[in-house]
Symmetry: C2
Subunit: 215 residues, 2 copies
Amino acid sequence: MSNTSVPKRERILDAAEALFAEHGYDGVTLRQISTQAGVDVALASYHFGKKLDLFQAVFDRRAASLNDSRREALHACQDKAGKRGPTVEQIIEAFLRPLELAQETGDEGWRHYLALIAYINNSPYWGPRMMSQLFDELVQEFIEALKKALPGAREEDIYWCYHNLSGALTLTLANTGRIDKLSRGKCHSADFQAAYDHMIPFTAAGFRKLCTRRR
Amino acid sequence: MSNTSVPKRERILDAAEALFAEHGYDGVTLRQISTQAGVDVALASYHFGKKLDLFQAVFDRRAASLNDSRREALHACQDKAGKRGPTVEQIIEAFLRPLELAQETGDEGWRHYLALIAYINNSPYWGPRMMSQLFDELVQEFIEALKKALPGAREEDIYWCYHNLSGALTLTLANTGRIDKLSRGKCHSADFQAAYDHMIPFTAAGFRKLCTRRR
DNA sequence: CAGAATATTCAACAGTTGTTGAATAATCAA
DNA sequence: TTGATTATTCAACAACTGTTGAATATTCTG
């Protein structure tokens, strides 16, 4: 259970990841991080420079891997669907399932990382500064696929639907446990499979409703 | 444009509201708040006590008014619908439109306040501590109405659908402006009417899809 | 008006913050 | 084993933090 044998540089990233996800950038001090990592304060500066650079390093560590698995999921469902192209459900499934799998890993680091993404995505300060550079390109790929699955849809409608999807996902990643209280135990925010099993048909129905031309 | 003639106690609340919404609780110092309010640092402590009490005061100031207008909207649509009860769309409309109206007020304070609600709702730390006490009762009223509009639905499904609705709403309130970039100008996050005009049918379709028994 | 109550500022505090440079330990290359 | 490179700790700093008590101004009350 202890983190001995893990290199100290990584232990700092792990601790920063967990603490930033819970309390945000300003809610965490370098001393809290280094204490949780079992390391001297100065070591964080030695490895990563300024506090902001450490924040960015936490963000970067898993970004490429996450983007890869989501892009692979998209391409896989596209290949399987042939030239007719995948359905809305299949595209959203490819967009979301890799996140569920990451959350369900024994490695709790992924849970913290995705909660950190949720924190950034929902923040008026950090959102514009950090989300675009690393995720926009992939999101555009998914949106292109959605356009093909919804012929005749107005672009504006597609983007607003994506906005709603992104919001539902963000709250799921944040994992605040609020639904547990609200539902008085009938739902558990730790039950990721249930969350995604509901999120996928929910958002797909929304896309169809708004992006299918009525004639 | 200046805030002269507004009592200093309120100016502190206004400044705190705006800054907490943008940077979170720990990202704001009492000196930033008092500077923006044009007031000495000690005045915040005089009026509100500890920093945390000021945070709570900002939260409380508009909570009752907001709850009232949403509850009124629910009861109004229930009265109009008669004993058959309102539809899912009508209930969601009542749940959301008062927020749109608040955001569209000339008073930018309401925009900041709702962005602060979004910040709290998405935070693993603050969410459980501050949301339930002030909003759960009202949310339960809406959920009861939804149960009646969706007879035969499993309670679990209703709560997961509400979770998705809450997420879409939260991101809308956060007002991060990210959709502007993503859509390359086709959507504007400041266009609240467009946001809600899309959110309502989107989420209503999701509820119907998951909470209508297929026979 | 006087005087009491309230509002506001001033000045200062003890504790905490991120960061740095020098000192020490561990690892690597030959 | 050497020497050099890298990793880690130690000690300290100046700046900033929330908070407080006393001093001053403003408003209310009679």
